[in-house]
Amino acid sequence: MSEFVITEQAPISLDISKYMHRTRDGKIKTAAKSKSGLAIKTTMFVLLTLTIYGFLTFDYKDIDMAKAVVGTWSNIKVVFGQPMLTYNTFPGALNALLVTFSLGALATIFGAIIAFFGALLCAKNIANPTVANVTKSFVAFIRAVPTILWVLIFTISAGLGSVAAVIGLTFHSAGYLVKAYAESIEEMDAGTIEALKASGASFWQTVFQAILPSSISRMTAWTFLRFEINFANALAVGAAAGVGGIGFDLFMAGNHYFDLRELGFITYVVVVAVILLEMLATRIKATVR
């Protein structure tokens, strides 16, 4: 039997001056110096410097600022104050809206399917590290190319139309969703996967019995977020690459007919659609949880 020997403990040091620092004029410092504080300050300094440098070096082409601002203000008043259709009909605008919506939906569905398998290849807790790194770099490359460039590139091989738009939009969606899905999978409990592996479940059994059920709600939330982005992207691509949909109508109203009222009406249609989409997404996210 061993005996506990109670040694006399040294009294806890209460020498406050060790922890308390004063500034030069005698005030007590309340914030501790930390690595993250320094990083935040450095980041802010660099960003502000770049901003100022940017403003000083931009080529403004001798623009008359006052005139441009006044002109824009009166244009804004026309666009949002007197919306009216001249070249397009209301059913036509709704049809174009439906096309943009469908382009976004197709890209989201393709993107989600590709991203699900991509995420299995690069989630840290289930994938082979080498495969994961290769997949991640490949995905980073795909994400780095702007959507509009993918669409323009695919326009050459597939012609100007829905195929180029959908495939172009899919590339970036898949890249984005792989990252999001992989994070959802990485957040799940490691014990579940281990338990299934120990019971002799195959890889696909683990995927469909453990990984999919436990991360489906997060994945759905991400997918709907991406759908909203894809709708906006389909609109933008329609305007910039001319692949059709309501984005192309916006482009025609503004840059071809120079009709501000028409631009205003189509903008309202788009804004209502975006708000409805956001409400739908919020509702679906709530039911999934």
Partner: protein, 273 residues
């Protein structure tokens, strides 16, 4: 007695959970399949064509996007436009973030501003968030012309709307408890902002700013195609002249820029958070 044992051994709910799950999955699958069919019909999307176009495009890219001598001679032009686009994205994001931060202070529950004010802020933010940047770009093109400021303001409005909503959420989430403590000590409104809200929400805000810079570089490429400015214009120009090797060099330079920025911001985020 037998009845009880049976009930314990065969809990009825357990089987129904799996059936229910199966049913939900089947319904979701059918819903997605229907959405796919309808969307494909509306847009005249040809599935086989779509799959065929990917290897075709890859082959085409591999053949035509290799920069040749002519493309390399254009590198200074490309880099100048690229740095212009990058600087615009940074400047837009920083300006929008500063405005959005002060604006969002008026809209949070944490700072306890008047209810009508908070409501107005949220509505204004929703307006700027929901009007797409493409619309702003087309609208600004009328008065600003093909100028760098067209893209700047178009991106500014969209970024401002998005960041205001995000900052309101961040401040409400992160700063609520420390603001309450500061209120209890009798700090004034401005004191709570500078000693409570800013320090506690700054890491999160910086992280969002870094994310928006990445997003805005891509967005400004698109706006550039539309307003004939920056790197987007340069790509469009080479592309329409069928000078694909130069266009390929533009794509490569954008990829390098975006990946560098992504790596830098990931590193910063790791230290900050």
């Amino acid at each position: 007695m037998d009845n009880i044992v049976e009930k314990v051994l065969k809990p009825q709910n357990q089987t129904s959970v799996f059936i229910k799950r199966k049913r939900t999955f089947t319904l979701a699958f059918l819903g997605v399949a229907a959405l796919f069919g309808i969307s494909a019909a509306i847009t005249n999307y040809d599935v086989i064509d779509g799959f065929e176009s990917i290897p075709k495009a890859a082959y085409w890219m591999a053949r035509n996007f290799i920069p040749d001598e002519k493309a390399w001679s254009r590198l200074p032009d490309i880099l100048a436009k690229l740095s212009e686009t990058a600087l615009v994205s940074v400047a837009v994001t920083v300006c929008a973030a500063i405005c959005a931060f002060f604006f969002s202070l008026l809209g949070t529950e944490t700072t306890k501003t008047a209810r009508w004010l908070a409501r107005t802020v949220r509505i204004v933010a929703a307006f700027f968030r929901n009007v797409p940047d493409v619309v702003w770009a087309i609208l600004l093109l009328f008065s600003f012309g093909q100028n760098i400021l067209t893209g700047f303001f178009a991106l500014f409005f969209a970024t401002f709307g998005l960041l205001t909503r995000t900052f309101i959420e961040t401040i409400d989430e992160v700063s609520a408890s420390c603001v309450e403590a500061l209120h209890a000590t009798g700090a004034t409104g401005l004191q709570t902002v500078f000693n409570g809200v800013i320090p506690s929400s700054l890491p999160e805000i910086i992280s969002w700013v870094l994310y928006m810079i990445e997003t805005n570089i891509r967005a400004s490429t698109l706006i550039g195609v539309l307003t004939a400015t920056g790197i987007g214009y340069l790509f469009d120009l080479y592309y329409k002249r069928m000078d694909y090797s130069s266009a390929g060099l533009v794509v490569t330079s954008i990829v390098i820029l975006v990946i560098t920025i992504e790596m830098l911001s990931n590193k910063t985020r790791k230290v900050i958070m």
